[in-house]
């Protein structure tokens, strides 16, 4: 019944040239089931399994190894951080100039057609910008930055740094023991901080919908820090499986699935991420790739939209399931881009693209699974409420 199991992870890495994060040994020692992901051997789950890891993160605290993600410093040649911010605004529709020191903001690299090349976090560290990008896109993003911003910025790949995330309602109490003062941070605050005496960059953010922190650590120190965090009885190591179910319940996009070069920010329902200053009539309107398409959609709407979908039965509705407007006949009107079982919702949850005419809350649609059309309903996102510390 099972698809053939992968060969041992050592054989896997040797044969396919997969990379390992600085926490590889710790992940294996903790019983992580290692799988290939974005060119890395990553733990998809630990012995408790996806369901328990997911619920533990929502109830207590989970530790995630996200060292496969790209960390980039964008340094202004002029020495003035606003020059790096103005330069980066040529590549993203977000207001970068107004990010205050020690604050960060969600952003999108767009292409000339208005599609999304990657989504990222941009932090203002006072004298430079600090970017976190997706693992699968990091080489392309770095090349894009070097090519487009060479006049104004020095692009520094911070490949010597690991990245971990501590997420959940007990994250603050746990991290406070190793880094007094983090309790004073609000959602999206960030900056250099000592954690267990190690020079880290800490931000109060994450990808689970929970309160929590993301911590950039020098690679050679991350194992000691992760081990110390895991020594806390409130903390459990969490794999990619629960990371995916947590972000899906939180209604957050996964690049390459819910957003890609074929989807615009407006179609993806990410309008909130585009500040007024970059929209038509704003102080720095347009001036990013695909601005003509994106600004027109911000004003006039897009013909399709990313929505949340809840199945009415128990069968999970998964990625690539076609969506129909009726129980029988007709052509598909849309497609599921992420879907699965939501452990906190205790039922199937999904996201997908549907025509604007079918995007209103509570619209009845049908997802085709194994030849059967199962009823689903358009549902407001997130499925599981966010608990950020504002």
């Amino acid at each position: 019944m099972l698809a053939s199991q992968p060969a041992s992870s050592a054989a896997l890495a040797q044969s396919s040239g997969l990379k390992r994060t600085p926490l590889y040994a710790l992940n294996v020692a903790r019983g992580g089931k290692m799988v290939p992901f974005a060119g890395y051997e990553m733990p998809v789950q630990f012995p408790p399994g996806v369901l328990k890891e997911h619920l533990h993160t929502r109830a207590s605290a989970g530790l995630f190894d996200v060292s496969h993600m790209g960390q980039i410093a964008l340094r202004p040649k002029s020495g003035k951080v606003e020059d790096a911010a103005r330069a980066l605004e040529r590549l993203v529709p977000q207001d970068i100039l107004s990010i205050a020191p020690n604050r960060q903001r969600y952003a999108l690299f767009t292409n000339a057609e208005g599609g999304v090349l990657d989504d990222l976090m941009v932090a203002n560290f006072g004298d430079h910008l600090f970017l976190v990008v997706n693992a699968a896109c990091k080489e392309a993003d770095e090349a894009h930055l070097r090519r487009e911003l060479a006049d104004a910025c020095i692009v520094e790949n911070l490949s010597g740094r690991a990245l971990i995330a501590l997420q959940g309602p007990k994250a603050e109490a746990v991290l406070s023991k190793l880094s007094p003062g983090v309790a004073g941070m609000a959602f999206m605050d960030c900056g250099p901080r000592q954690v267990m005496g190690i020079d880290c960059f800490v931000s109060r953010s994450g990808y689970t919908g929970e309160d929590g922190f993301e911590i950039s650590v020098p690679a050679e120190r991350v194992e000691a820090l992760a081990a110390a965090l895991l020594d806390d009885p409130a903390v459990m190591p969490i794999g990619l499986g629960a990371r995916d179910s947590l972000r899906l319940e939180a209604g957050l996009c996964l690049y390459g699935h819910d957003i890609d070069t074929e989807t615009t920010p407006v179609e993806a329902n990410l309008n909130w991420s585009i500040q007024k200053s970059r929209r038509s009539g704003g102080a720095r309107a347009g001036g990013f790739p695909g601005a003509d398409v994106i600004l027109a959609q911000l004003t006039g709407g897009a013909s399709r939209k990313r929505v949340g979908l809840k199945a009415e039965g128990r069968a999970p509705v998964r990625e690539n399931a076609p969506l129909f407007g009726s129980a029988e006949g007709g052509e598909p009107v849309g497609l599921v881009t992420s879907g699965g079982f939501g452990p906190s919702v205790n039922g199937p949850v999904a996201m997908g693209y549907v025509p604007a005419s079918h995007a209103a809350d509570a619209t009845q649609l049908f997802a085709e699974i194994r030849g059967q059309r199962l009823p689903v309903r358009v549902t407001p996102l997130p499925f599981s409420p966010h608990s950020y510390k504002r």
Binding site: A3, V50, K52, F341
Partner: protein, 121 residues
């Protein structure tokens, strides 16, 4: 009563001309937390190796294949109410379906417990 196993990690308990089929403990460990099981309809006539049931974990959907040909004579309705039985009692309460064996010679290719243990490692 004989218990046989497939290379795909299913077990068959043979009683007369009916086989009760489920998945092994090894399989449930690999699947992880089971959240949904889709079973075939009673009366359906299936061929050996046909995908006839689906077991879904949080992570993924996996097909369950007919280990032998025959007619589905009963399915386990308890799995609809509590799919996690597959994790807690894979060899007992979480049987999937009963199949009336069409051709007993199809049992010849299956493994006994010792052979299966060697296979699953």
């Amino acid at each position: 009563m004989t218990v046989l196993y497939t290379a795909d990690h299913e077990w068959l308990r043979i009683e007369g001309d009916v086989a009760t089929v489920g998945v092994t403990d090894y399989a449930q460990t690999q699947l992880g937390d089971v959240v949904f099981v889709d079973l075939p309809k009673v009366g359906r006539v299936v061929k050996k190796a046909e995908a006839i049931a689906v077991v879904e974990s949080v992570k993924a959907a996996s097909d369950v294949y007919a280990p032998i040909g025959g007619e589905i004579v009963e399915t386990n309705e308890a799995l609809g109410g509590d799919p996690s039985l597959v994790n807690s009692d894979p060899a007992g309460g979480a049987w999937f379906f009963k199949i009336r064996i069409a051709d007993k010679s199809e049992l010849d290719g299956l493994m006994d417990e010792a052979a299966y243990k060697a296979h699953a490692g």
